[in-house]
Symmetry: C2
């Protein structure tokens, strides 16, 4: 037997009991005549005590021989501590050890296994088993486990059935790039790993399951950026005989449930904003509502003032935000830095105009030669600007400028500490465009995905409208945003074969391509497909956002690095010649690799 | 709005209410002046009524236009039925329809969507969305969903943490064949899909998680036999600081829990049998204990009788079973058929000897010229044979003969109807051999897997014994068997680097191969790996066995056929040239395929 108790459960009421504990040596303190070991397991830490008077020489030697992270088993008596520790639940007792067995030794870990570690990212990933011993990392994964439990509890309680959809499916060129899996039994053919169970969950609706969910791994072979993983997890759902309203209510309920049960936070009803409004007010389809600093457009006032400042007067959009009470903090140097920031290629603005309403009543702005104080004061009124406030203004082409200003607003939010920890601001963004025109490839892309339905009142326009009309189609598509992170999104789907065929055509599929790739779904729509819609939440993202963290990697037990590599197991790796042969494949880099 | 109620919830107390229902047309009956439609959704069936007197002409026409599996929405009043149907919960009411909307039409399904269908396997798989509408198939998947819920409830309640392990891992030649996934970002390198999360769950033990579980998809690229799927689901578990006893008790508890909550069956404590005994008594490591018919070996009595029947006297094993009360049923012709059955290449016996103890007291046997009635009666006594019983005897090489007799015993069990529906007989088979000698390849294979620990008392033998000794090593390895099906298995693992290295060596790994494939695990064992062990249950199999069914395919939403093909989506399929290029691959069958 390895234990009668775990290391987190002994209390003052257990004094006098003989117990067996097993765990890891967190640390040891040796005072010569006395010695203590902190013994750690998943459940807590219990202090062990050895002393020269009552412990045998062999026992003391054994205790002195163990090092950090050794695994030991001890037997002993629970006694009351002379100096109690009120920081841990077991702090009133310690174990007077009678017997100690070393279950496994440990080398000295390459980094400290403490809440704060001195290990760099690469080292932590290579020795992930040591990193996972650290309380904050373990707590992240325990949180993830509880989030899955509460999600399942809520959805099961609402009549959702969890159905496992297959992982070996069919490669389709639409959307992101697939990971593919060569089939040995079907020479020259490949499976694909699912980017999402989209078509299968729709098939389940045709099958009459009505309320489906799955917490499911999905795969995308994209170039990896920070915080993007080749495999990730979704809370995937689909419902039949529902409107957008039903779906929003159900998943607002889920979100409230997990915040309440796991964070003790009662979220008020979620506001809703349509896509066009989000773009106009925040320049982004996932606004962070923890702070205001909304866009105010200046085109009208600039036109009315007509001062000959061509940059503004000829711009499709002149838009600004107002930072409150910052003028004393924003020196010329700091503003220059901010200007450099917006001019970086990632943002791409040509310049930044500021208007400072100084505390002393003066107004400072680099465009003072075009606009006098009264002009600028009139601008300020549009923002409700007061002394100490500063306007930041960008101008240019509409969509680009909004995007740039959206980035600047977030940067200012960060700089001014407006994104408060523990503050959660959910938002439904609704009424997304159905199609997005891509200038480069001269074709439409599906804004959500090719199965999304136009709004009922736009169906006729979609079936019979001209090319320009297609750009104005709006969909019953929606995203849940929390604190500027997209937690999930979904849509009401097309359930009619003709409309789905039309959508494929708009997206550039030939009828043959549509049939080859999605024939099964088009076929299914002919056998009594109910109206349906759904949503998917990014599970990793939800974990991170609920804990106020930005990286999903810390909520994944074994994440991959930016080249898709698992540093611990060292995968991917070369395969054997026989494997190539069995799969009817040859490598075009193999010879080089072997030289 | 599509519904105020579902089709399973209206009762006599709802009479008078105006309701909206949506669903599928199960069937329609038209009496001319009156018409009924059975409207079906996931929750049940509700009868709709239309009549010439009170329904408008348009409404009647609309009702007459709909066919089987059309999707409609109706509004109407709940009324009491004149002729009640006590077979369905809604049978006391019907809806007097005021409004009918067709939500989607349906072609005539290619097979009947009823409990018993006329659709063949291929057709059912191609139109899986229609097959899944059938109550028995849907009930299977709903059962599966509930089984997952109860499994998670039990394990979470016992402090297990669910952790998702990665799906893109490393290919290893040990065990079954891997599915591999070419990595675009790492030219010439491949991921593998996990055959099980074995090494990751052991890493989680090294990480101090102590109690891990996961309901997880696993993948094996094996030649498919009936009832084997390339992707399947496991209940995967691992525990630290435990002995075999702890694991057996925990998972016996899980099994009892799911039988009780889902089937209302209280299983008594599970018997245990060691591997050697199972082979001796049943000729198989997964005996079906729903019936007896245990082996009795005849070598001793045959030696003592010494009658010159060389076939028996020179055989390594002579073994028989006793079928009770069957002599009148087993004519010479039927026994000949049984003899042909054991001589089939799949079984491989050379012949079958019977001894019939007829009701009239006579004894019939083809070996009567060697053995007189007294001799045979002495044999019968070993079985407790009575009048009407029949011995069936095989002889030959020990292991082969046991296996043949094991098959014959099961065949007799089937023939005599001894495997009763609703009878569940679980059994722990324990003390499996550690290693299995393969004559063909002249090497050891791991009986369970390469991470299994020998029994504590065999460690010394393993480290220092000779080649022959290795064959007698026993492991703390165990299988849970129910009704002759292996539900799952596991073992106590090695947690010591030296012992694990020795095991790899015995299994034919060079130190370099062991390091390349499992270096991370060997490394982890050096940083305080706790004693640990685990188990995995086949989730699909457990679903099937709990429902008295033999095929796992009926419990998988979208199964693949025997060539690994998804008939509905038609996968696997060819990929594009660009995909090959991006993955640094060429096909060796591609040109032929394109000709």
């Amino acid at each position: 037997m390895y234990r009668t108790h775990n290391c987190g459960e002994l209390r003052i009421g257990d004094v006098g009991k003989t117990v067996t504990l097993s765990g890891w040596v967190q640390k040891a303190r040796d005072k010569g005549f006395m010695m203590w070991i902190d013994l750690r397991d998943r459940f807590g830490i219990t202090q062990l005590i050895f002393d020269e008077n009552s412990s045998s020489k062999e026992l003391l030697e054994a205790a002195r021989s163990v090092g950090r992270e050794w695994v030991i088993r001890i037997e002993g008596e629970v006694i009351e501590r002379s100096s109690k520790n009120d920081k841990i639940p077991t702090g009133e007792v310690e174990i007077k050890v009678a017997k100690l067995d070393v279950l496994n030794a440990s080398k000295v870990p390459p980094f400290t296994v403490e809440d704060d570690t001195d290990g760099g990212d690469d080292l932590r990933m290579k020795y992930r088993y040591l990193d996972l011993r650290r309380t904050p990392v373990r707590e992240n994964l325990f949180f993830r486990s509880r989030l899955a439990i509460e999600t399942r509890k809520y959805l099961s309680g609402n009549d959702f059935i969890e159905v496992e959809t297959p992982n070996l499916i069919k490669s389709t060129p639409e959307g992101a790039r697939d990971f593919v899996v060569p089939s040995r039994l079907n020479p020259g053919q490949f499976y694909a790993l699912p980017q999402s169970p989209q078509t299968f969950k729709q098939i389940l609706m045709v099958a009459g399951f009505e309320k489906y969910f799955q917490i499911v791994k999905c795969f995308r072979d994209e170039d990896l950026r920070a915080d993007r993983q080749p495999e990730f997890t979704q809370i995937d759902c689909e419902m039949s005989f529902v409107t957008q309203e039903d779906i929003l209510n159900t998943f607002e309920g889920l979100t409230k449930h997990v915040f309440k049960t796991l964070k003790g936070i009662e979220l008020p009803d979620f506001p809703r904003m349509n896509y066009d409004e989000a773009m106009k007010r925040y320049g982004i389809d996932k606004p962070d509502l923890r702070f205001g600093m909304e866009f105010v457009e200046l085109n009208d006032i600039i036109k009315s003032q007509s001062k000959g400042f061509g940059v503004f007067e000829s711009a499709e959009l002149v838009v600004g935000i107002c930072a409150k009470g910052v003028t004393s903090d924003y020196s010329r140097k700091k503003i220059d830095k901010l200007t450099d920031w917006v001019k970086r290629p990632q943002i791409g603005a040509k310049g930044l105009v500021y208007v400072k309403f100084e505390e002393d009543g003066s107004i400072k702005s680099p465009i003072g030669k075009f606009y006098n104080d009264d002009d600028l004061r009139a601008w300020g009124e549009l923002y409700g600007a007061e002394k100490g406030d500063m306007l930041l203004i960008l101008s240019g082409e509409l969509d680009k400028t909004r995007k740039q200003m959206g980035e600047l607003r977030l940067e200012m939010g960060r700089n001014l500490g407006l994104m408060k920890e523990g503050d959660f601001k959910p938002l439904w963004v609704i009424d997304f465009p159905l199609l997005e025109w891509d200038e480069e490839s001269e074709r439409f892309h599906a804004m959500h995905h090719p199965f999304t339905s136009p709004k009922k009142e736009h169906v006729e326009m979609m079936l019979n409208g001209d090319h320009e009309t297609m750009k104005s189609l709006r969909a019953d598509a929606y995203d849940l945003v929390i604190n500027g992170s997209e937690i999930g999104g979904g849509s009401i789907r097309i359930h009619d074969r003709a409309l789905q065929s039309k959508n494929f055509k708009l997206l550039g599929f030939t009828p043959e391509e549509a049939e080859a790739q999605f024939g099964f779904l088009l076929g299914a729509f002919e056998y009594g497909a109910p109206p349906h819609g759904g949503i998917a939440f990014g599970f990793d993202r939800l974990c991170a956002v609920m804990n106020g963290q930005s990286s999903i990697r810390d909520f994944i037990a074994f994440p991959k690095n930016n080249t898709g590599r698992d540093m611990m197991i060292d995968a991917p790796s070369p395969i054997h010649d026989e494997q190539y042969e069995e799969l009817y494949l040859e490598s075009t880099v193999k010879d080089e690799a072997e030289v």
